[in-house]
Amino acid sequence: MEVIEILVKPGDTVQQEDSIVTLEGDKATMEVPTTVGGVVKEIKIKVGDLVAEGSVILTLEVEGEAKAPTNEASKEEAKPQKPSKANGRSTEASVEVAAPSGDVYASPGVRRLAHELGVDLRNVGGTGPKNRIIKQDVFAYVKKRLSGGGDGLQIGPARKVDFTKFGEVETVPLSKINKATAVNVHRSWVTIPHVTQFDEADTTDMEAFRQKNKKKATDSGYKLTPLVFIMKAVVGALKEVPRFNSSLDANGDNLIYKKYFHLGIAVDTPDGLVVPVVKDVDKKDIYELAKELGEISGKARDKKLTPADMAGSCFTISSLGGIGGTAFTPIVNAPDVGILGVSRSKVTPVYQGDKVVPRLMLPLSLSYDHRVIDGAAAARFIVDLSARLGDVKGLTK
């Protein structure tokens, strides 16, 4: 986590739970509170430092104590600890950050090798006598990790191109959010066999209802958008086809069905794409959802989302309807197994019996993990979803 703001200065008096520092990690910024109150003696970090659990943030003079112990910060991000170990060295590029080997069944030489390769031995299966982890196990593990778990794609390195040869350029570093998104979508793209199914839902009645009732929301300070209706419809479809509300377990042997309905909502921010999660959508009505969506989107744009705000989604909705386009193929937000892309609705001539009538049609693009969901289930899901979107009474019950 990178320090982006220090909220106190030496001499300040802080109470327990007061925020003392703002940290930015993957996709979130958070304020870290102090676990004890006192007078700030010395700040041990500066803006831009990388810190991790155990980093010393600052020292406090605690009332009633002659000499204060080094102190500082939240349960997760920074524990009081005497030797300051952070110094910006806490993150290292490697397969994974090597943890102390602790109580693993491996000889000292194997433990050293694991440190050198950045392998956490707790993740390595042993094939030696009595399942002892031997050197070959560590090598095999690294090989597997480097090849993305399989035999590898044998892709050569990206070509380096000097763009200045062709004209003027400007190099801008990617934001943390951009980088994290890149890692996540790349992993999903190469590990999940994607299929995308399209449909159009008739949202004429839904839109009429929305126009009629939107003032009710606006008066209370939030917007009744089509998205909240889509969220309700998705929950209905998830109940109808529960396989869409599942995840594969880590070794791919089991399917985990979820009995809750949390929806990830892709939100565009100036720094990039974030996916806050609206919890228990099945238990909330459209007005409650509209209010919560307004709050969470605001939080996303203000960079106030915490990791907890973005954890636990079952299924994700990415709505580009406000911008335009007819259809797209969204990438599944693993470990979800499905994602719904929503494009811009359009008044379209539709046959009803012999008559052509103008209907407001909403294009839907449903991508899914084909390891978990087959085409028939996906078709059933999207047909059910379309039907629900056409039945505004059902959505607003």
Binding site: P108, H115, K130
Partner: protein
């Protein structure tokens, strides 16, 4: 005096076992190294006035005791004639051979040795007060290996008859009445030497047992052995005053085993522990945090709070042992040279080279009990060891501690002659994650003391045939 200046990629402060290991390893990994040592000879306390010379004298003590004991079994020698000068010469010869060897090893590696006391001037500069004037050493990285010194007691008078471990090795007066102040390893080793050479020994220890930290059943064996030989062992007792008189040192005691009135001694050996030398380096000028005791905190790569400065050995904390300092020193050199190594030892053995010896590694039974662990013991008494019988030293015992959940060896303690030579196998077994079966099924040579380790595992397993233990679980 000219002010000389030297640039170093790596400067190592202190040439004890940790310091020279660090310097040599860094040099072997391609670094340009300067080694700063305040004394004329390399090797630090361990080689010059610690582990090595004391072991030479302990060997002499053992020969004397063994010869004396043999008279009970039909081999009688006359009383030993002790030529202290010659004995000291032999001891010094060993020290010189080893320290001279280090000088040669430093030269072979192009490690530049600078003699003098080093103090930090800034985060990248050290000033060394040498016989030829001050030398400024600028460095990219530093390894502090400045060790520790014998702890002092404020109320003890400055008198030549009061010795610390360094002074005691000079054997100035061995036919004396001596008080050993502190019943730890250093004090008891010195007591072993002085007793054999003719001194009359009293030991005073503030805690309720000798060598606090060792399991009671283990220390009991040593206690019983020396109790029969020394004049008085006072536990739970402390010294409150020492008065230097012409006829001797008058010592006043306080505590449960304190003598009724002050006692007169010819000599006092103060062995109440060691103090880290962290405060003698002007470390604050480099921004290094030193705690109130003089320790410098480091992480598991020996890094201090200052990015490019490392610390190793006694100065970073307990246990203050050369065999802990050496791997730490090599590790610091490796980390500096870009290796991703960490200090990751599961256990560090301890040895008391008393007679009998004590050695232990891993968890002690006391710790296991305090932590509420579900543990099991495998104890083999040396009275049932043919080898111990043949050495006429049957007081020993071997005790192994196992985790009952998976029968893994988590600790070992041995008391008896050569215990220090036996404990290495146990350290290896713990590092390798051996369980009782692994140790019991490893064929050990017969008849040896090392067998007792295998037999202790068999006791735990319930497979022992050399003893009859009807209540043990059977496998």
């Amino acid at each position: 005096m000219t002010k000389e200046s030297i640039n170093a990629e790596v400067v190592v402060i202190g040439a004890g076992p940790g310091g020279y290991s660090a310097a040599f390893r860094a040099a072997d990994l391609g670094k340009q190294v300067v080694l700063v040592e305040r004394y004329a000879s390399l090797g630090g306390v361990c080689l010059n006035v610690g582990c090595i010379p004391s072991k030479a004298l302990l060997h002499a003590a053992k020969v004397i005791e063994d010869a004396k004991d043999m008279s009970k079994y039909g081999v009688t020698f006359g009383d030993p004639k002790i030529d202290i000068e010659k004995l000291l010469g032999w001891k010094q010869g060993i020290v010189d051979k080893l320290t001279g060897g280090l000088t040669a090893l430093a030269k072979r590696r192009n490690v530049q040795v600078v003699h003098g006391e080093g103090n930090f001037v800034s985060p990248n500069e050290l000033s060394v007060k040498s016989a030829d004037g001050d030398i400024a050493i600028t460095f990219e990285q530093a390894i502090i290996a400045a060790g520790s010194s014998p702890a002092q007691l404020p109320f003890i008078p400055d008198d030549p008859r009061v010795m610390d471990s360094t002074g005691a090795l000079l054997l100035e007066d061995v036919n004396c009445k001596m008080l050993v102040l502190g019943g730890g390893i250093i004090g008891l080793e010195m007591a072993t030497i002085y007793h054999s050479l003719g001194a009359n020994i009293d030991v005073v220890e503030f805690m309720e047992q000798l060598i606090p930290g060792v399991d009671k059943d283990i220390i009991k064996v040593l206690h019983k052995h020396i109790e029969a030989r020394y004049n008085n062992i006072m536990l739970g007792t402390r010294v409150t005053a020492v008065e230097a008189k012409k006829e001797g040192l008058l010592v006043t005691f306080e505590g449960e085993n304190a003598p009724g009135k002050p006692v007169l001694y010819d000599r006092i050996l103060v062995a109440v522990g060691r103090t880290p030398n962290g405060k003698s380096l002007d470390a604050e000028k480099a921004g290094i945090e030193v705690d109130e005791k003089g320790f410098i905190a480091v992480d598991n790569q020996q890094k201090t709070n200052v990015e490019h400065i490392y610390a190793i050995g006694d100065i970073v904390g307990q246990p203050m042992l050369a065999h802990k300092a050496m791997p730490e020193g090599r590790l610091a050199a490796e980390v500096i040279s870009g290796k991703r190594h960490y200090f990751d030892a599961k256990c560090i053995p301890s040895v008391s080279y008393t007679d009998p010896e004590l050695a232990w590694v891993g968890i002690t039974e006391t710790e296991a009990k305090d932590k509420g662990l579900d543990y099991g013991r495998g104890v083999f008494p040396w009275a049932a060891s043919g080898r111990a019988l043949g050495m006429a030293r049957t007081e020993g015992m071997t005790k192994l501690i196992f985790d009952n959940a998976d029968n893994k060896l988590i600790g070992a303690a041995i008391v008896g002659v050569n215990a220090g030579e036996l404990i290495g196998e146990m350290a290896l077994a713990i590092e390798m994650g051996c369980d009782a079966e692994d140790v019991a099924l490893t064929v050990h040579p017969h008849p040896t003391l090392s067998e007792t380790i295998m037999l202790s595992s068999e006791v735990f397993e319930g497979t022992i045939t050399d003893l009859y233990l009807p209540k043990r679980k059977k496998r």
